[in-house]
Structures are given as C-alpha cells and as structure tokens.
Symmetry: C2
Subunit: 219 residues, 2 copies
Amino acid sequence: MQALDEYSAADLPTHERVYRALRDTILDGALAPGEALTLRGIADRLSVSMTPAREAVRRLVAERALEMTASGRILIPSPGPERLEELFTARRLLEPELARRAVRDNNKGLHSQMAAINTAMNRDMEGGDPVGYIRNNTSFHRVLYQAAEAPALLALVESVWLQTAPMMRRVYGRLGTGDLADYHEAALDALAAGDAEALAAAIEADVAQGRDLLRQAHT
Amino acid sequence: MQALDEYSAADLPTHERVYRALRDTILDGALAPGEALTLRGIADRLSVSMTPAREAVRRLVAERALEMTASGRILIPSPGPERLEELFTARRLLEPELARRAVRDNNKGLHSQMAAINTAMNRDMEGGDPVGYIRNNTSFHRVLYQAAEAPALLALVESVWLQTAPMMRRVYGRLGTGDLADYHEAALDALAAGDAEALAAAIEADVAQGRDLLRQAHT
DNA sequence: TTCCGCTTTTTGTGATCACAAATTACGCTG
DNA sequence: CAGCGTAATTTGTGATCACAAAAAGCGGAA
C-alpha cells in the first residue's frame, strides 16, 4: 500500500486522497485478487476517520475496482475467465477508437514520451519489477489516449483497467519467455508515421495479446 | 422524484435504496441538466440521514450520473456536444456487440417481451408521456442486452445511459414529426430471424438516430 | 436601477458513537 | 483428532454534531 502523503500536498478533500491512494495501489497490481480490506484498516493506515474511507471504498465499488459481499465485506475482485473475456472485449472495442483519435490530435511530444515509457517498461522487465512494469504499461496506453481528448471514453477504459489490474501480476511471469511480438514498437512506428489505422491495429493486437497471456495464466 | 417505498420491501441497506431511487429518477430523464441537488434535500425527502445520502451521491458521481463542483455542489450534468458525441460513440461501439451476443443466447420469451415494450413506447409517445417513453426505450435495450449475459459490458453501457439520460427529454419533442425510421421494428425482425448481424446493424442505426436527434435538439 | 459589501443561511466534510450482524476464536464433546 | 455450539471480537451501517466555506439575501451608495 502506498503512502497517503503522495497526494497530501494539493489540499484535496480527505476522501479524494484516500480514493487516489487506494486506486493507484489497485492499478499497480499490488493487491491480490480475493484479498480482503476493512474500513478501519484503511482509515488507520492513512490516519483518517472511517467516513472518508467509506466514501472512497464506495466509489471504487461503483467503478468495480472493489467488490462488496452482501454482508459488507470488501474484497479485491477475482474475475473469472468469462468476466475477463468481457473486459478485454471492451478494451478491444474502445481502445482502437481512442488510438485513432490520438493520431488525429497528435502533438509533437507524444511519441518521445511514449518511447521513454516503453524503454522504462523493458528495463522493469529485465530488472524484475512487476509493479513498475504494470504501472508503465498502463501509462503507455493512458498517455496515448489522453491525446485523444475524449475524457468520457477514457473514463470507461480506465474503469476496465481497474477491473483487470489485480490479475495482471500473474501475466508478468510469462513475459520473459521471449517469443512475444512487441506491439508497443509497432504502435510507436505507426504513431511516427501518422497512420491511424496501423496504430489502431497495433493497439488491438496488444490488447489481444494481453487477453491471451491472461487466459494461459489462468489455467 | 420517486418514492423510496418502491425499494423498501426488500430490506436493502439504506444507502442502496437511496441510490436506486436517485438513479431511476435520473434514468427517467426526470431531472433537468444543470439542476442542483443537496444532501439534506435528498435525505429529508427520503427520510434518512445525511450519511446514506452522501454515499449514494458519491456512487452516482463515480458513475458520472451526477457531477460535483470543486466546492462540493451536486449537479445534474449538462454534457456539451463534444461529450455527447463521445458517449454515443461508446454506445455505437458497445451495444452492437451486446446485441450479437443476445442472439447467440436467445431464449424464447425475449422477442415477445421486447415487442410488448415497443408497443408501450408507441403508446407513450401518442399519449404524451415523456418519462414513460424514455423508461420504455431504456428497457427495450436493457432487456435485449441482459440476454447477452455479459454483466461487465452491460455495466459500461448503463453508465453511458446515465450520462445521456438528462438530455433525452429534449429529444422527445422531436419524435412526433413522423418521418423517423423505426429501427426497433427492424431489430425485432432481425431477432425473430436469428440474424445477429442484422440486429447489430439495427441497433447501431438506432443509436445513430438518437445521436442525430440530440444533435439537432442541441442547437 | 445596478453594483458592491456585509450579514445570514445553507451546504458539504470529517469525526465520533451506538448498534446489529457477521466473523473468528475457543473449548467442549464425541 | 474432528465436529460443533457458544462467547468474544471485528466489521459495516446509519445517525448526529461541530466546523469552515460557499451561496444567498439584503441594504446602501453611485
């Protein structure tokens, strides 16, 4: 779990700071599927009262980043194969569209920014840093889609990421095997060429590869 | 605003009953874009304390069915043209997929159920009942997509509906003009024939028509 | 009338508490 | 040692309150 201090500078409402701390922790894949949380545990760890902790949890449950049983227990979701198939279908439908729009509104710094993130990803993989790898992989996609200036579409995609994030750690172990096509490189080339359809295809292939890796890891 | 009593029978948690009452009110298009709500107003109307009202609002803000300003004011969102274009793009990408899956898992009663809803819609339009019309239109789509048994995809679509719902009332006035293609009939025919692609095309056309009507109404 | 400044009211936030239900711990019985 | 029933503990829920900030109301000056 990540320190609350990272967000304390900006004088945000307490519930917002708790929300961001929890969300980032989930997005990093740092919490295992099925793991249980408690309101008092969250509140104590972040030195706040139960009220903002409850609001942050309620918000994450609404985004399906957390799950609540009928009795009120707070769990990290553990989506089964059917659910994962749905989530990757959503990514396959939405992300290529965002990629196309990003090319349309492309600005100069985007390519170098994404290239730098991709380099950091490869370093994380070689150095054995799963959290860093997952975080940079998310950033790679997010930076691209932010250029599309479509916040409503991006919000839908981010909600899907939150739901798949806890399972991503299992994929990490399968990455070093070597015979994986690098669709990030293909995406960077397409972006440099300003080829929207090639970029959309690379993104779709990248999503499909993630789905396949997860499908293998689940068995 | 709708009575809380409609959900009081099932002994759900208070915050859940408040959430459903608010959500259904929004989904019916009964709240105008830009309209302000207060926690105490919601709590008093439903005879509960501020705490569950706050949790319900927080959840709806997370689903983007409500908006909160930096100072904490609760507003019904009033999406501009660009935002609406995004939301209808999301519907165009997601709903045809759900329609295809519904055909795959088609059960006998679905067609007659949708036909009945469609009849009720036409009655609402002739009778001048905008809330009933909007509610039945939502049901028409929801019943179809529920047959797809893809809850994660459906949740994404429902989030989009919540965001467009407040604007739908403006569309209603344009409906009586007569020269509108009835894609619901086309959808029913495709479903009866078990033609997944024809159904997906009808749904896409229906979504596109809604987008166009809203675009005209906005000027 | 219009605009500015002050006062009053309204509003969201965060903390605390009592309570009931669920979970866990534990000791007894077989 | 396993199964089970009871006690102790943990946990989410809903209500209430103090507080600070924002909004609304209001009166006077230009």
